[in-house]
């Protein structure tokens, strides 16, 4: 199959099918409804299921149930919908089940607006739901990368038996770009006998699988949390992904930016380069685990006068940038949260205001 022109939302739906996920439960919300629209047509063609829940709360638990049975399952929503699913996300994490959540973020808080935003950074990387759990969070900056990350998300969720979230702002869902899909349809989870309640007769394992999140005994709950923590520590070791940009130069400033915002920053960096001003960027592709070491090293380079976190929020990722840099360089934030995206010219002005 050659390249095809797709909206991010459509491409995410198709990629899930290519990843072998034939179970999709969702509730429509702008700006991600095209995923549901697309899959309502496509799922029947491939023998899959699209079921619209009565709310996002229900959808979250549909994922819990399907994952518990050993099915590859995913959902898509936008900010307020993900808030409603957050309880189930905590339960799924506690029960150590794989599932993929896609958040095409819109402006908040509350109902907010329908334009692009990255203001769910905290929700995705620091919790949202209750308890000591983490999501592996992937942040695409284009439609092809959204496809690649969906393909990657299912094996990662199964490797860690943990929910994976894809965090894309509204523009990632709505913009169109040419994309290519691998023709290799993936199969169901290979390790599902480890957790699935799929009946003793069909499995190699002798022990029965139990899906639960209740541990009334303090010692058992402590032990359970240590198991989870060990997983999250392993993610920090093995799953950090980022893209450096213009990093081989004698840059005077370092931008940290992800998703749509990073595309604007790239244009700004190219424009400054043309004027003889070198600026580098680290684009986190995983928001958890966060590329702490890469940012710290890049910020510590001689000649780097400032680190600027440019984001579509009122300053969320900047907290992780700050703890990465650890005082080695001044850290600033620049961003917007109403739905307007800063222009390349605006980013250039901001960078120039901080450098000598």
């Amino acid at each position: 199959m050659g390249k095809i022109l797709m909206k991010g939302n459509e491409a995410i739906g198709e990629a899930a099918i290519r990843a072998g996920c034939l179970n999709y439960f969702a509730y429509p919300i702008t700006p991600q409804s095209e995923v549901a629209e697309y899959l309502s047509r496509r799922m029947p063609e491939v023998g899959g299921v699209f079921l619209q829940g009565e709310s996002e709360v229900a959808v979250g638990y549909m994922l819990f149930g399907a994952a518990g049975c050993g099915a590859r399952v995913f959902t898509t929503s936008s900010s307020p919908g993900i808030s409603l699913m957050s309880e189930a996300i905590s339960y799924i994490s506690a029960a150590e089940l794989p599932a993929v959540f896609v958040n095409i973020v819109r402006g908040g808080p509350g109902l907010g607006g329908i334009l692009p935003s990255q203001a769910d950074y905290f929700q995705a990387t620091k919790g949202g739901g209750h308890g000591d759990y983490r999501l592996l969070v992937l942040a695409p900056a284009g439609v092809q990368e959204a496809v690649d990350m969906v393909m990657m998300a299912f094996p990662l969720a199964e490797k860690y038996r943990n929910p994976v979230m894809i965090l894309g702002d509204g523009l990632i869902g709505q913009m169109m770009e040419p994309v290519e899909f691998s023709d290799r349809f993936k199969s169901e989870p290979s390790n599902k006998d480890d957790w699935a309640t799929n009946g003793m007769a069909t499995r190699n394992r002798k022990e029965r699988n139990l899906v639960k999140s209740l541990f009334l005994d303090a010692e058992l709950l402590e032990e359970h949390n240590l198991v989870l923590k060990a997983k999250y520590d392993r993610m920090k070791q093995e799953e950090v992904r980022y893209e450096p940009y213009n990093i081989e130069t004698d840059y005077r400033a370092l931008i940290v930016s992800y998703g749509t915002m990073s595309r604007v920053c790239k244009t700004a960096i190219d424009n400054m380069k043309a004027e003889g001003v070198e600026v580098a960027m680290i684009r986190p592709q995983t928001l958890f685990p966060f590329p702490i070491k890469a940012i710290r090293a890049a910020a510590a380079k001689d000649g780097c006068q400032v680190v600027i976190s440019v984001e579509l929020s009122m300053g969320q990722m900047v907290e992780d940038v700050d703890r990465s840099v650890q005082g080695k360089c001044p850290v600033h934030w620049h961003g917007k949260a109403g739905g307007e995206i800063p222009t390349p010219e605006e980013v250039v002005d901001v960078v120039k205001s901080f450098i000598k």
Binding site: K3, P31, R41, G113
Partner: protein
């Protein structure tokens, strides 16, 4: 537009329909600009009640500079995903400009709004054209395009009378894509017996394209609907 002035009939009310992302809006905007440059009085109505992003209304400022009026919901509702149909639209249909372009939303869902204008349309003659980009999902086959046509005709309660070929891969469009896309819409035109009104090509590629291959005019596209890191093409009078 190359050879376009020969298409005298493209006047009056032209309704542009097609599947999601087929390029209705980019085509409508560029058609409006092209006809305005040819000295025709043009107005364009944004009837996209479906998609909250990348609508005609995004280009209202450059269009206004050229003297092309964009009819759309009141300013305060511009960023809402509410199905607002401006009452001005019915007036626009009753008192059309030399060329009145109506840019409907995607798929049958987007065309539903047209049925609510049926009364206004009844008293006038309308040309409804289907935009086809064969590199988009659900319209990569002739059957897919015909199904889309049926669905749109059913919900809009109107008849499609022609095809606009809009084969493109946005920034990655190659000349070969234009040629292959033309062959596809030509075959669709033969199969459906709907005339191929025109095809499009990026203005930047026009010099390299052998237009002698085509039996229809070519509308150059100067891209207006762009993400924030790309500059829209400047529109000269």
């Amino acid at each position: 537009m190359i050879g376009f002035n020969t298409v005298e009939k493209l006047k009056g009310i032209v309704v542009v329909v097609g599947n999601y992302g087929s390029g209705k809006t980019e085509v409508s905007i560029n058609l409006a600009v092209n006809r305005k440059r040819a000295g025709i009085d043009v107005r364009i109505a944004d009837l996209d009640l479906v998609n909250p992003y990348f609508r005609t209304r995004e280009a209202r400022k450059p269009l206004a500079k050229l003297g092309i009026e964009v009819v759309m919901p009141a300013e305060k509702y511009l960023k809402a995903d509410l199905p607002i149909l401006s009452p001005v639209v019915a007036g626009l249909i009753r008192r059309p400009s030399q060329l009145t372009l109506i840019d409907a939303g995607g798929n049958d869902v987007g065309a539903t709004v047209l049925a609510s204008l049926a009364d206004a349309f009844r008293k006038t003659s309308v040309q409804m054209l289907q935009v086809v980009n064969p590199y988009r999902p659900f319209t990569e086959t002739i059957e897919g395009c015909l199904k889309m046509r049926d669905e749109i005709e059913k919900t809009s309660k109107m008849t499609i009378i022609g095809i606009i070929g809009n084969a493109n891969m946005i920034d990655e469009t190659a000349i070969e894509d234009i040629y292959k896309g033309y062959d596809f819409v030509k075959a669709l035109s033969d199969e459906s017996r709907l005339p191929l009104k025109f095809i499009t090509a990026p203005a930047t590629l026009l010099a390299e394209i052998d237009t002698g291959r085509f039996s229809c005019p070519v509308l150059p596209i100067e891209r207006q609907l762009v993400p924030p890191w790309i500059k829209a093409a400047g529109l000269k009078k």
